[in-house]
């Protein structure tokens, strides 16, 4: 099938979603009302902007995630050929994980993984 499969499925997904949404637009009648357009907040008008400040912790987790995600990308090709290389691969990966773990411990010590 090849790469064509990706195009077919993308088009299929768009057709499926658009079909559903358009069909529902065809069946329903929309009457505008200013109350309908308000953000949902348990019945009372919302106070302040909804795009408010959120916790810095999310950002720190995202940074630490990036560190490990890049490491994972390195691991995929390594995992495929580890049996052919043998003991050398084990030593290298051990060193790699130790270095990585030091970075992880540093982040932990700095309190990046603490939720306050």
């Amino acid at each position: 099938m090849g790469t064509v499969a990706l195009f077919i499925l993308t088009i299929a997904a768009i057709v499926f979603s658009a079909g559903g949404i358009l069909a529902s637009r065809f069946f329903t009648k929309s009457v505008y009302n200013p109350q309908k357009g308000q953000p949902y907040e348990c019945g009372i008008p919302t106070s302040g902007t909804p795009w408010s400040q959120f916790h810095i912790g999310y950002y720190l987790y995202a940074i630490v995630f990036l560190l490990f995600e890049v490491e994972l990308v390195f691991m995929y090709p390594w995992a495929v050929i580890v049996q052919k290389i043998g003991v050398g691969a084990l030593v290298e990966m051990f060193a790699f994980i130790v270095v990585l773990f030091i970075g992880f411990l540093y982040a932990h010590k700095k309190g990046a993984l603490k939720w306050m």
């Binding site: 099938m1 090849g2 064509v4 499969a5 990706l6 077919i8 499925l9 993308t10 088009i11 299929a12 997904a13 768009i14 057709v15 499926f16 979603s17 658009a18 559903g20 949404i21 069909a23 529902s24 637009r25 069946f27 329903t28 200013p34 309908k36 357009g37 953000p39 949902y40 907040e41 348990c42 909804p50 795009w51 408010s52 959120f54 912790g57 999310y58 987790y61 995202a62 630490v64 995630f65 490990f68 995600e69 994972l72 691991m75 995929y76 995992a79 495929v80 050929i81 580890v82 049996q83 003991v87 691969a89 084990l90 990966m93 051990f94 773990f101 992880f104 932990h108 993984l113 939720w115």
Partner: protein, 361 residues
């Protein structure tokens, strides 16, 4: 006689018929359209089936009847729900970023559908056997995070924004240990292609011949899969009592239905990946050299094996929901970063030792 009703035989017959009656180009186009239609139908049926299964399983867990009025034994309940959702008005809030708000459901459906490409449903029944199959699945699965953040951010709603942030943090965190668990298994299979992974389990599934690291990897993968699909006990992103519905609070009608569908499709996909990696996908269950038993197992069609394993795992995930209480966000992130990730890295090293010393079968 055995292969007359398998998916593979149907596929070959359709291909032959198309090539015989039409030219090769026309046959190819027809095949593309058939695949598209097949996937759309599969999605709709799977969505209806999984929602129904969820409701029935939770009913059984709580000793009640569950849906039983619409159709025989309530089988048409989810179809009626879909019809109802279709008749609901699709609202866009006034303050919302209209473009992103409407784009997000499409993106989440595209991500869910693209993951279907390398999954093998039966023997030789696969859309495209990509040589980086497992990596492809994990990379496409990350796209759904973007769709969730997009939906939460563009909704112009505090609940939606907080839900999306929680969901994003949770999905990216648990992606790591899921990835490490997958890599642990890739070391044994020596290939990322789904076809090769399944064929490498001909004489026993990896959960049996992969020793203890494979079992640990399976447990970690299932925990991470539950968290990645935002299901209880990790369903903080849509904790009803605090955030109404999380990132899709403002969505209504069909757009909401698409998010709901994508959620269940993702559950199916992670369970299918777990079934492929640990339980041999469509490989029948064999016991060593016991020929008679193996022969009987071979008579069960491969599609039944695959779907059976996948639905058992889905049942397991639904069971989790009614067994464990919901975690708090800091407990959730602690569980991943302080326990699961170090354990899965240590497990990876253990598996490397086993693989390098050739201790597996």
């Amino acid at each position: 006689m055995l292969n007359t009703i398998s998916f593979e035989a149907i596929k070959t017959a359709v291909q032959q018929w198309l090539n015989m009656h039409w030219g090769p180009h026309l046959a190819f186009i027809a095949e593309c359209i058939l695949i598209g239609l097949l996937v759309i139908v599969f999605f709709a049926v799977l969505g209806l089936l999984l929602v129904f299964m969820e409701r029935k399983v939770s009913a059984v867990m709580q000793i009640r009847l569950g849906p039983n009025r619409v159709g025989p034994k309530g089988w048409l309940q989810t179809s009626a729900d879909t019809l109802k959702l279709m008749l609901k008005e699709g609202l866009t809030p006034d303050g919302a970023d209209k473009f992103l708000f409407n784009l997000a459901p499409f993106l989440i459906m595209i991500a869910a559908m693209l993951i279907m490409v390398p999954i093998a449903f039966a023997r030789n029944f696969q859309i495209w056997d990509i040589n980086i199959g497992v990596l492809y699945i994990s990379s496409i699965a990350s796209i759904s995070v973007i769709a969730i953040l997009m939906a939460g951010w563009s909704s112009n709603n505090k609940y939606a924004l907080l839900g999306a942030m929680r969901s994003g943090a949770q999905i990216i965190s648990y992606e790591l240990s899921a990835g490490v668990a997958v890599i642990t298994m890739v070391m044994l299979t020596q290939s990322l292609s789904i076809q090769d992974i399944i064929l490498s389990q001909q004489n026993g599934w990896w959960i049996f011949k992969g020793h203890i690291p494979a079992i640990i990897a399976f447990i970690i993968f299932m925990i991470a899969a539950t968290a990645e699909t935002n299901r209880a006990p990790f369903d903080l992103a849509e904790a009803e009592s605090e955030l109404t519905a999380g990132f899709h609070t403002e969505y209504s009608g069909m757009k909401f239905a698409l998010f709901f569908l994508a959620e269940y499709i993702n559950v199916f996909i992670v369970c299918a990946v777990a079934a492929i990696l640990f339980f041999g996908g469509w490989m029948p269950f064999h016991i060593g050299n016991w020929e008679g038993f193996n022969h009987i197992m071979d008579y069960i069609p491969s599609s039944i094996w695959f779907l059976g394993k996948t639905f058992c795992l889905i049942f397991l995930i639904m069971w989790f929901r009614w067994t464990f209480p919901r975690l708090r966000i800091d407990q959730l992130l602690n569980l991943e970063w302080k326990y699961l990730l170090p354990i899965s890295l240590a497990n990876l090293l253990l598996m490397t030792i086993i693989v390098v010393l050739k201790w597996y079968l």
